[in-house]
């Protein structure tokens, strides 16, 4: 039996980037906020001690900062004809755990999605006609780039992003990304100092007519104090970003960039190691009354609140809505319902190069230190006659030279023994990969629902993921990867190994933790869960942050847009919702 607690103005589920941002904004507005986080408290001093933060075995191999499947997992199948089975060891994607969430273990590649990404369906119909879309279920977001621009800018300043503007108030800037949307301001920090491999990539990309630029990075290129007064130290290029917490206050994270200010506030409380079981609704089902959670002792608590904001990792936001009965679950057989609809991912390919007479010192690296080119991203190129839509960013971001997992060897090398050792020795310093990070467009059969068979430790159904790469995306990825190979050839390696994405999608090898969609935003409640302010159409005192709101994915890392949407939603709550609680968009 749940014990009932005193009511709060706002109950936040999950204390990662979006939870920290919403809590900070809403406590600034005078509201009393509690954040309930299922994982442990983490901060730089205690959890990412410089003495042991770069422990590859503990953090990268044994995945210390990540969710354990025994706590929550999901079942998976490639298509409707298969029976989904539980993922017992996370592989293809790695959901984070604890305070800071994915903002702790990310690499720090921080992008704005392209203006056309936000009105994808309308844009493609205008340019190519409806036939170009085929049976893909891509949609507009209901919000435009221009509306989000001030909030992109806000997040970049909070997170201390290093980069070079390519389009400042409509004027193309040399050295930046000429394809990006118009920016009101440059990045708060200049680009990071380049290492050799990205420098070589940029020269080669230019030589074949492309437009490389420094990848926007949340690894600080210099000391920086953000608008909240929080200070970052310059990145030391240690090469321990993804899967690790940063010990040097250099990688933007909730811990470095928001939480020290939030935790000082008397109208904020964080409750860690408390797992929310469901959002509670009143008898009408149109209003949330709070949440029920369970602490580590197994005691259930009811935390009432006026406003409930889902800030968990995208997949778990979707499951929370399904478990709470908020919004109609999507049914692929009828193409009706919304929750779980339009799950998508990221379509990645790569080209690996082995050089003679070049030394790259790959251990001098950081998670977002590199060069990128957007010539074949989104709709930056004419798709007429290509047989696909979408695109991919071309990236040269050699994130690390860590000793256990970064051992590039040419294909055909044995997996052990003296031949492997010899190849490792030859290749470690003279090989690197470049990647194409591609869009992932939605189909009727890729979705999330509740599993009919498997349950979690509380007896709740697990989430079921049904996903495979659509043909459109496979063609897109192959096309861009061929372009990437032309850049690779221009660098003059001894050997090129192209790795193209194919079907079936497998949850075993790591690919990306950019799981998006399932609780998507849009302009029509028949095809979206949230309105343009990330407010539930069905239960207007519930908001859902994060990449679960993306109707489909673009060829970028999602965090920058997650941050912008969080500030956008917080602004709407502060300036509109609080004055007149209720639906901010009429259905």
């Amino acid at each position: 039996m749940a014990r009932k607690l005193p009511s709060r103005d706002v109950v936040i589920i999950g204390l990662g980037w979006t939870g920290a941002i919403l809590a900070n904004e809403l406590t600034d507005a005078g509201l009393d906020v509690v954040a309930i986080e299922r994982g442990p408290w983490r901060d730089t001093a205690e959890s990412f001690n410089v003495g042991y933060a770069p422990d590859e075995l503990r953090f990268a191999v044994r995945l210390d900062l990540f969710l354990r499947p025994a706590q929550e997992t999901l079942t998976f199948r490639n298509n409707l004809n298969q029976t989904a089975l539980p993922i017992r060891q996370f592989g293809s994607f790695l959901p984070g755990d604890g305070v800071g969430g994915a903002g702790v273990h990310w690499n720090g590649q921080n992008w704005r999605y392209h203006p056309t990404d936000f009105r994808l369906r309308s844009h493609l119909i205008e340019r190519y006609g409806a036939s170009a879309i085929g049976d893909l279920t891509i949609q507009d977001w209901g919000v435009t780039y221009d509306e989000l621009e001030p909030f992109f800018d806000r997040f970049e300043k909070i997170a201390g992003i290093s980069g070079k503007a390519g389009n400042l108030k409509g004027a193309i800037q040399p050295g930046g990304n000429p394809f990006e949307g118009s920016r009101s301001d440059d990045y708060p920090l200049p680009p990071m100092q380049m290492t050799y491999a990205p420098t070589l990539f940029a020269e080669a990309a230019r030589s074949v007519g492309y437009h490389p630029f420094p990848t926007p990075s949340a690894n600080a290129s210099g000391a920086y104090t953000n608008p909240l007064g929080l200070t970052m130290g310059p990145c030391t290029f240690c090469g321990f970003c993804e899967r690790f917490g940063c010990a040097n206050y250099s990688k933007a994270s909730p811990q470095v960039n928001v939480l020290p200010v939030l935790m000082r506030k008397r109208n904020f409380e964080a409750r860690t190691e408390c797992e929310v079981l469901k959002i509670n609704l009143d008898g009408s089902g149109k209003r949330a009354t709070g949440v029920t959670y369970v602490d580590t002792a197994g005691q259930e608590w009811e935390q009432p609140g006026d406003l409930v904001i889902c800030c968990a990792f995208s997949l778990f936001n979707v499951r929370m809505l399904l478990l709470s009965g908020i919004g109609k679950p999507y049914d692929p057989s009828t193409n009706e319902g919304v929750v779980g609809r339009n799950y998508s991912y990221q379509t990645n390919s790569s080209v690996q190069m082995f050089f003679d007479n070049k030394t790259f010192n790959p251990f001098i690296a950081s998670g977002a230190l590199g060069q990128s080119a957007d010539d074949f991203n989104g709709d930056n190129f004419d798709h007429t006659g290509l047989g696909f839509i979408g695109g991919a960013g071309m990236n040269c971001i050699p994130t690390n030279g860590r000793p256990i997992l970064t051992r590039p060897v040419p294909p055909g090398t044995p997996n052990w023994g003296s031949a492997w050792k010899k190849a490792t020795k030859e290749s470690y310093n003279s090989a690197f990969s470049i990647t194409s990070q591609g869009s992932s467009y939605t189909t009727r059969g890729n979705y999330i629902d509740l599993d009919p068979t498997y349950k979690d430790r509380f007896g709740r159904p697990l989430m079921r993921m049904t996903f495979d790469f659509p043909e459109n995306d496979i063609r897109m990825s192959a096309f861009v990867n061929d372009k990437l190979a032309t850049v690779a050839k221009a660098m003059g390696p001894r050997q090129i190994v192209a790795n193209k994405t194919g079907t079936p999608y497998s949850v075993v090898p790591y690919q990306s933790t950019h799981n998006v969609g399932g609780a998507i935003m849009g302009a029509d409640p028949k095809t979206s869960v949230l309105n343009k302010y990330l407010q539930s159409w069905d239960v207007p005192n519930v908001f859902v942050m994060g990449a679960s709101a993306y109707p489909q994915n673009a060829g970028y890392n999602p965090t920058g847009t997650v941050g912008a949407l969080a500030y956008w939603a917080a602004h709407a709550i502060r300036t509109q919702y609080l004055k007149n609680p209720g639906p901010m968009v009429q259905a």
Binding site: T44, A45, E46, N49, V50, G51, Y52, D55, A223, T225, L228, G229, L230, T231, M232, G233, P234, T236, C238, A247, N248, Y249, V256, P260, V261, R264
Partner: protein, 416 residues
């Protein structure tokens, strides 16, 4: 309810000669008392970890044994609610308890003796506005013979300077205000003045740095190198206001002082403190010649520094402004007594977090990683690198501070 009790008390006494001259209705007095209570950082000693503010119970370790701080909320039975004004003033100013017993100078009454009675009564007026907390504390936990309070008579004779503080007409009002804060309510010397063998202030060395509770509170006179002579007034004001400036971060007990006290004082008062401290320029011993870079301890220390310290504090010892303290030219680093430096490396520390500088950057513990010899070499290098100059540090000095609960990693080799 409380107001009713207070009224009843006044009613009983009548209007003729109230024993208590403090008036809870007197906003100015209460407000001034609140400010002076913050200036005196009373909350720091009179609050137990996790306890209610001002309700006492904090263990105060002295070289003679432990004391517990008393409850100074207005609770009648266990706090100071039954004290008359005279009893309060006598306790704070003269170290005489409400029952006539002599108080241990962990209560720094020699400093408060410099304060006018009106200021002390203002503090009383403010304390009277707190909610009374029932928390009985027996302050005296000292072993024999120190538990005999009569010994304090002798102590006072030697250590209690009852000379009143009179404004120096040759100095500016700011200087005089600064002196009042430093010598009076701020009781800076309680930590920063070295102690005699009896635990009294060694006044000939006033504010030149002292060891207290396992920290070395550095020299804060206007001397260059070891003191704050190289600091500008603006830097001192910003340090006391925010806890973190480009060259240094308040950490250890000073972080608490900044958070609880100095960050809440007016800029004018902080400037007065800066002016006064910078005016103190005792004759200083010449800087020790820096050890040669080729000294084997320097070579070893430099290698450890480069491996484990340079990522934050940078190879040139410049640190990162407002985040990682500067070691080159640092006064904390170059104190004669390296206690604080050893302690910070062994157990780590955390900078003050204030509203202006909320980061609260942390230095991790390295006790598990470095042996006593390695810590000694590292500190010797830091004290003599980049133009710094200070005595070298021995492994046995590190061992003394390391203590039994943090064994030498040569024996364990385990990360926490």
């Amino acid at each position: 309810m409380r107001r009713a009790l207070v009224s009843a008390a006044f009613a009983a006494i009548g209007f003729a000669a109230p024993a208590n001259a403090v008036d809870q209705q007197a906003f100015e007095q209460v407000e001034r008392g609140r400010y002076l209570t913050i200036m005196g950082d009373c909350v720091a000693c009179h609050t137990a970890p996790g306890g209610k503010p001002y309700a006492g119970g904090l263990t105060i370790a002295t070289p003679f044994g432990n004391l517990l701080s008393p409850n100074i909320t207005p609770d009648v039975a266990t706090g100071i609610g039954a004290f008359s004004d005279d009893q309060f003033v006598n306790a704070v100013q003269n170290g005489i308890g409400s029952k006539g017993q002599r108080l241990y100078p962990a209560l720094p009454y020699p400093y408060y003796h410099k304060m006018p009675r009106a200021d002390l009564l203002a503090i009383r007026a403010y304390l009277n506005t707190l909610d009374p907390v029932s928390n009985a504390v027996e302050p005296n936990q000292l072993p024999f013979p120190f538990n005999i309070r009569m010994s304090l008579l002798f102590w006072n004779l030697l250590n209690f300077d009852r000379t009143p503080l009179v404004d120096d007409p040759n100095q500016s009002p700011q200087w005089n205000r600064g002196r009042y804060i430093v010598e009076g309510p701020g009781h800076c010397g309680a930590c920063h003045t070295p102690k005699t063998w009896l635990g009294g202030d060694n006044t000939s060395q006033a504010l030149k740095g002292g060891v207290l509770q396992g920290w070395f509170a550095p020299d804060i006179t206007g001397q260059a190198r070891k003191g704050i002579g190289d600091w500008s007034e603006d830097e001192l004001v910003a340090y006391l206001k925010t806890g973190v400036i480009a060259r240094s971060s308040a950490s250890g007990p000073m972080a608490e002082v900044v958070v609880n006290s100095t960050s809440k004082l007016s800029d004018a008062d902080l400037r007065a403190v800066a002016i006064y401290l910078k005016s103190l320029t005792p004759a200083s011993a010449p800087a020790p010649a820096a050890l040669a870079a080729s000294d084997p301890h320097m070579v070893a220390g430099k290698a450890i520094y480069k491996d484990s310290c340079a990522a934050c504090h940078r190879e040139d010892g410049e640190g990162i402004d407002n985040l990682f303290p500067r070691l080159r030219g640092s006064s904390v680093v170059q104190q004669d007594d390296p206690t604080t430096l050893i302690r910070v490396i062994l157990e780590g520390t955390r900078a003050a977090a204030t509203s202006e500088r909320p980061t609260g950057a942390a230095m991790p513990s390295f006790a598990w990683r470095f042996s006593d010899d390695q810590v000694a070499d590292l500190i010797t290098y830091i004290r003599n690198g980049w133009g710094n100059g200070a005595s070298s540090v021995s492994a046995s000095a590190v061992k003394d501070i390391r203590g039994a609960d943090r064994p030498n990693p040569a024996k364990t080799g385990q990360a926490p």
